[in-house]
């Protein structure tokens, strides 16, 4: 028996699961392990959430553990603060990205600050789940990429999975964290499938570690969440143009994994930041600025950004023009000054 075969024999069976299933499983496992974990939100009970992420949980753990709240997002997050103050670990579902806005005062003025306000005496282990992003044909207010607001708020962790195992792992890590964590769930990946063994879930990744999804030598695509599969597709397509692209999936926007990102960019000498959110004032500015600060002498070209346009999210029939797609990414890669005379990847 070869080593590989042996590993296959002992490794538990991996089978396809959707990201929605993995998230559901993460909630169930966390609730089973710790009675302090309580879910709150609109329609999270009998309905199982509009995306079915909480499917079956009210039935399994009772309505007191998985509670349909009145329809008021500030109230949901505000009561979660009180519950956390009494030792519970609330997991809050915001039904859609744009419907988290009414809760921003609670989020910014309390959730993110309570620990600091009380000199560490009153941590708030709250998880805020926000289905985000477009590409699902949703009408107005159902497709916002609102991560800029979250990452500009010190005291919050902000994570966003792009794969099925990461969805499980990051949500478990979020719930286990003693800090408030905003989990941005890319809603158009809810139905994406991965081979994954739900019986032996992958190790929960520490919050703050990026993952290199594809190694490459020509340039680095720095991305996260819904744009990761698009970047991987672009990287495949780029081979035809002779480019070997590396794809870094940030997974965690706060804290930010400078190490992984810089190691990659220093190696490739070129970077394109890709995300769906609006460009101006979006996370891409921060990411590009950090790369500029930390990798200046390794850069053979300016760090470019491929992002949503600086416009309100478009209606379903026009959203494809707004979303960063493979062509737009390749176009940016093409503008990385390949003929400018500097040798690729060389430190200056």
């Amino acid at each position: 028996m070869t080593a590989v075969a042996a590993e296959a024999a002992t490794a538990p069976a991996r089978k396809p699961a959707t990201m929605a299933q993995a998230l559901n499983r993460a909630l169930r496992d966390a609730m089973a392990e710790d009675p302090a974990v309580h879910l709150l939100g609109e329609d999270v009970g009998a309905l199982g959430g509009v995306f079915r992420i909480t499917d079956g949980l009210a039935k399994e753990f009772g309505e007191d553990r998985c509670t349909d709240t009145p329809l008021a997002e500030a109230g949901i997050l505000g009561t979660a603060v009180g519950m956390a103050m009494y030792g519970l670990r609330p997991v809050v579902e915001m039904q859609f990205d744009a419907f988290a806005y009414p809760a921003f005062e609670q989020l910014i003025s309390h959730v993110s600050r309570m620990r600091n306000r009380t000199r560490g005496a009153m941590p708030l282990p709250i998880t805020v789940r926000v289905p985000y992003g477009g590409g699902i044909g949703g009408v107005e207010h159902h497709s916002d990429s609102s991560e800029a607001y979250y990452i500009a708020t010190p005291g919050l962790h902000v994570v966003t999975p792009a794969t099925v195992p990461d969805a499980y792992g990051l949500l478990r890590a979020a719930i286990a964290s003693d800090d408030p964590v905003v989990v941005l769930e890319p809603k158009r990946l809810y139905w994406s499938k991965d081979d994954w063994n739900p019986e032996a879930p992958e190790t929960v990744p520490p919050i703050g570690r990026a993952a290199v999804r594809r190694t490459g030598t020509s340039a680095t695509l720095v991305t996260y969440g819904p744009s990761v599969p698009v970047c991987l597709e672009a990287a495949e397509a780029a081979r035809a143009e002779g480019w070997d692209l590396e794809v870094v999936d940030l997974r965690s926007l706060v804290p930010f994994d400078d190490e992984t990102v810089c190691a990659s960019v220093r190696r490739t000498g070129r970077a394109v930041v890709v995300h769906e959110a609006t460009g101006f004032g979006g996370p891409g500015g921060e990411i590009a600025a950090r790369i500029g600060e930390r990798c200046f002498h390794y850069l053979d070209a300016p760090v470019l950004r491929v992002t949503g346009f600086d416009i309100p999210y478009p209606a379903p029939m026009l959203e494809r023009h707004h979303l960063p797609g493979v062509d737009r990414i390749l176009d940016a890669v093409g503008r990385l000054q390949w003929e400018s005379g500097w040798t690729e990847g060389s430190a200056r």
Binding site: D68, L71, V139, I311, P312
Partner: protein, 377 residues
Amino acid sequence: MTVLEQPGAYRPAPPPAWRPRTDAAPLLPDEEPFRVLGTDADIHDLDPLLLTELYRQLVRGRRYNQQATALTKQGRLAVYPSSTGQEACEVAAALVLQDRDWLFPSYRDTLCAVARGLDPVRALTLLRGDWHTGYDPAEHRIAPLCTPLATQLPHAVGLAHAARLKGDDVVALALVGDGGTSEGDFHEALNFAAVWRAPVVFLVQNNGFAISVPLAKQTAAPSLAHKAVGYGMPGRLVDGNDAVAVHQVLSEAVAHARQGGGPTLVEAVTYRIEAHTNADDATRYRGDAEVQAWREHDPVELLERELTARGLLDDAGKRSAREAAEEMAADLRARMNRDPQLDPMELFTHVYSEQTSQLREQAAQLRAELDAEEETR
């Protein structure tokens, strides 16, 4: 008149100077929802033209809901939140308004806009997905269909207040669901309206559910209309499936607002017969029996039965109403089956009054992409 001079201004003074305040009793709703159909009320008093119009609009409204649902199944609409079962509210709300008045609908209230005279295709633009709003709000005095719950209510208050400041005789009528009453914006809007004595009518369509969440998880109040007293405005409770009753209560509220009496909160008790939208699965959270009970209290049938019994409607009248509805449906179907013509470059046109240099750059990028696409085609 400044706020402080308004009658009933609450200005506590130390005892014994404690001042008389607004009397709460007249603000409280009746115990039972107001009904006309199926009661002893003499509807012969009512304008027969109004009754006919209500009936024709209800029939048309029901047909509209069916057609929109069918178009959704055919993929012609991105999503449709049906108002089947709520037609009495939708139609009455449209008919109580004068042309110069304003309507503030939610996503569920395309029918109300249509009953007010808006072209159904324009009303459905948001839900078809070609743009967010298919009409000029000022032209039709219909605010954009509002998705973030209860956020349209302060808009209605501000608009009504502005009209009053300008000396215009304009009333705003705002629609919201039972779930929406839990939002902070509901509270703030009603409070501003009462303090400003703005000419607004708030119509809560209490259809029993906010998606899957039943009313009992939404409030512990005796009724939603009871919230009114906390703002110092009258609260009224009405059978939301009784088009005549809804029309009457709303008309009174509109007249009260028009005369400078300030806002009213009306709770119309009704039921959402269909699922929340086509994307929803209502079997997960409610049983058939409940739906069946409400089907037997159908707004179209209630009115039809009563008008027929009272000799105000005959077969010809019914047929004519149904034919008009079919005509509307056929036209809607035909027009919705054509693909809308969209120019992607419009994405950059309306963000600001003048394009910023940033948007000009981005527009140029999209232009180039579209041209390249065109070439390779």
